[in-house]
Amino acid sequence: MQNTKTAKLVWEGNGLAFAATGGSGYSMRFDNPSGPKGASPMEVVAMAAGGCTAADVIDILRKKRQDVTGFEVNVVGLRSSEHPMVFTEIDLEYVVRGRSIDPKAVERSIELSLTKYCSVNSMLQHSVKINSRYRIIEEAQPEPAAA
């Protein structure tokens, strides 16, 4: 059994700017890389990869009862210099801020996301080398119970 998903893109009529709507009804704008109106397609792929694994990792870390106070994923893609300029490597850097975060939990969450759950990475993995690393930043002070 398979799920079908639809997205729609409409050209705004001049330049290379577009409005796009995903199956869930949310929209974004696109532009060519030098244009001011929106993100470029390959950067959107990078953000999709980052967003997909970020959602998995935060979910798993919270299930593991990790006290995460901040989290981001930095994504850098390396592209071939010849057309069609595909990604050859994608570096994912996970930055987890929190209190007494267990590095093993972070490692395991990333591994589960990249090997099991993240649909965008499953699309990229066959042709792109995905590198991952993480940093944990200890939150300096425990927050007082009431301000």
Binding site: M1, Q2, N3, T4, K5, T6, A7, K8, L9, V10, W11, G13, L16, F18, A20, G22, Y26, M28, R29, F30, P33, G38, A39, S40, P41, M42, E43, V44, V45, M47, A48, A49, G50, G51, A55, I58, D59, G70, F71, E72, V73, N74, V75, V76, R79, P84, V86, F87, K116, Y117, C118, S119, V120, N121, S122, M123, L124, H126, S127, V128
Partner: protein, 137 residues
């Protein structure tokens, strides 16, 4: 390509920021505040081939007056919900637009220029179709 960042803003909600500071809100469908990452992949593919097709037709001196692309993807029912088929439907109009010119532009994009298609093709079968809309004149 510069660095893009995805920042957690709570629950399963994120802000994606690209290297030139365009931002987009991402979330799970349940959270319902932004785009789903796998939707973004389909949209990235559509915008990538759209740019090629507009460019190629402009070089052939056939400027488009409208273009709309609908992409649909079939995903596995089980994790990681990999897309196995992606269908791209182009609906376009423009004075002097011929079937041949459009077919060529789409083929060039698909075979040569579209980096998103080239990146996912090994996993998903990408198919295309197009429809030329004739304006009432």
């Amino acid at each position: 390509m510069g660095a893009t960042t995805v920042k957690w803003i709570g629950s399963k909600q994120f802000v994606g920021i690209d290297s030139t500071n365009h931002s987009v809100v991402l979330s799970s469908v349940a959270d319902g505040v932004g785009m789903k990452p796998s939707d973004m992949l389909l949209i990235a593919l559509a915008s990538c081939t759209a740019i090629d097709v507009i460019d190629i037709l402009a070089k052939k001196r056939i400027p488009l007056s409208s273009l709309e692309i609908v992409t649909s993807g079939e995903q596995d029912a089980d994790p990681p919900w990999t897309f196995r088929k992606i269908h791209v439907k182009y609906r376009l109009s423009g004075q002097g637009l011929t079937e041949k010119a459009v077919a060529q532009a789409i083929e060039l994009s698909e075979q040569k220029y579209c980096s998103v298609t080239a990146t996912v093709r090994g996993v998903a079968q990408v198919t295309t179709e197009f429809e030329i809309l004739h304006s009432e004149n």
